[in-house]
Amino acid sequence: MYAQMIASQASDEDPKRLAAFQKRIDAGEKIEPKDWMPSEYRKTLIRQIGQHAHSEIVGQLPEGNWITRAPTLERKAILLAKVQDEAGHGLYLYCAAETLGISRDQLTEMLLDGRMKYSSIFNYPTLTWADIGAIGWLVDGAAIMNQVPLQRTSFGPYARAMIRICKEESFHQRQGFDIMMKMCNGSKEQKTMAQNALDRFWYPSLMMFGPSDSDSIHSEQSMAWKIKMNSNDELRQKFVDQTVPQANLLRLTVPDPNLKWKDKRKGYDFTMPDWDEFLAVINGNGPCNADRLSARKKAWTEGQWVRDGLQAHAKKNANIMIAAE
């Protein structure tokens, strides 16, 4: 997912307070920034929301890669609007994280020096226009699977950010599917591009949900705190069951010879992605990790004089205002 492998552990604070806190969560109450919360709850949320925000920001890059080459004026406008939405998601997720007592600049520095991660999916390249369709269809589709339940997450600012994000994400998914439809009904080359995009993005999309529950890092605490709402395998199954019929509609072949509908359990059997590849990508060795991070570092470093300049000007103005009073 946009937040993958977020470990959480129980807090060792006053058991009475912890129990009262848990009671509020179980009763479905929202925890607000000024409320008392276990330090581990705060820490886990910062990691999770921060990773989610970073994913939105880094996620601009693979799609931004095609803005200048979008095939029509309309497609260009749609893609620009979409990528701008992603940046907006990043903005309000950073704001949600800031209510937990960390600044956006601190989070950014942790992304740039490797202490924080972003979703593995954005370390794959966008090679053709069909990849833009595949990202909307598969990647945003997978993101929605996770984000819809997160609208009910226990931390108020995160839940509210998620409500807004989900509305936009479903648009994004539809525009992705629309691109795929056009290409699958198009020329031979366009169909080839579409199939090729599915071939490359299928398994990385499945990786978005994180490792199998049996191998997954400790997440019971996150579940109890309603920071994580569903298990990785549960969401992955749901995604496959939803997506395979869509691929059939597009007359595309899901690149999995073991894909099979099981009537008995009303779901598909499917092949898991290569978890060694997943770990390599998470640890910085995916096809685009170096590119993505260096692009973000460059933007941050080269933007320093702009941020300094505007701040210096604001300060001068504030001084003038004070002097005038």
């Binding site: 200048t68 620009l80 691109i179 004089w305």
Partner: protein, 253 residues
């Protein structure tokens, strides 16, 4: 020159300015100096691409040769583009980008204000709508130019360099030729003779607040608006802008 051809060219100039500047601004997506700037730049690019679509659709209608706005954007070659040289200049650093934007926005608002009074009703309607966007762009680029010009010594130095780089491309915005005269005679635009005066008033007051010096006796580059001599940059823009349409002729996307 007959009116229809002049009118077509005139609309292409408006459309191409928006298209090429929108393209340039869109190159920033994901690379801006702050998240807010990134969003603002994408927003402005989006406005400009929308504006380009409006003008090029009108142009295609006037031309009446079964070409669409997309055909005009994606299938003309460099010599057929009618944007001014300013908008095809490279982004450079953020200072150069925002200075180019400001010098364009200040002109754009004046032109759109005049066009909103056009006797050609579709032009008047489009200009009235686009003017609102351009005013917002101007407000933002003006404030940013002031903030960075009057910021730190480094931001000041960079903004002065940006102004020195961009200023020689300003003159072309005010060049007038036979096409302008022809459409003026028909009332497409009531070009007040003192457009430059208004422009100079706007930029000199802003640049003064930004503590920047307007270059004393600038030379002036031109050749974009009339298509006679674009800069080398345009061809590279087109290799990206038109790639898919050129590589897969006739495909639907």
């Amino acid at each position: 020159m007959d009116y229809q051809s002049a009118y077509f060219e005139f609309l292409c100039r408006l459309g191409d300015n928006a298209l090429i500047l929108g393209h340039r601004i869109s190159e920033w997506c994901g690379h801006g100096p702050t998240l807010e700037e990134d969003i603002a730049l994408a927003n402005i690019a989006l406005d400009l691409i929308g504006e380009a679509t409006v003008w090029l659709e009108l142009a295609a209608g006037v031309e009446n040769k079964r070409r669409t706005a997309n055909d005009l954007a994606m299938l003309r070659d460099a010599w057929e583009f009618r944007n001014v040289l300013l908008v095809e200049q490279p982004n450079g650093d953020f200072g150069q980008t925002i200075m180019r934007q400001y010098l364009f926005d200040a002109w754009h608002v004046l032109v759109l204000t005049a066009l909103a009074e056009s006797r050609e009703l579709p032009v008047a309607a489009a200009a009235a709508k686009i003017k609102k966007e351009a005013q917002y762009h101007l407000l933002r680029s003006r404030n940013t130019v002031i903030g960075l010009g009057d910021g730190t010594p480094e931001s000041h130095r960079r903004m002065q360099a940006a102004l020195d780089w961009s200023y020689p491309y300003v003159g072309e915005l005010f060049e007038r030729d036979e096409i302008d005269h022809t459409v003026e005679q028909k009332g497409v635009v009531n070009q007040s003779a003192n457009l430059w005066d208004h422009y100079y008033e706007e930029i000199s007051s802003t640049l003064q607040r930004a503590t920047l010096q307007i270059p004393a006796a600038p030379h002036s580059h031109s050749g974009g608006k009339n298509g006679q001599q674009h800069s080398e940059h345009l061809g590279h823009i087109l290799t990206q802008l038109q790639w898919l349409q050129r590589a897969y002729p006739g495909a639907q996307w």
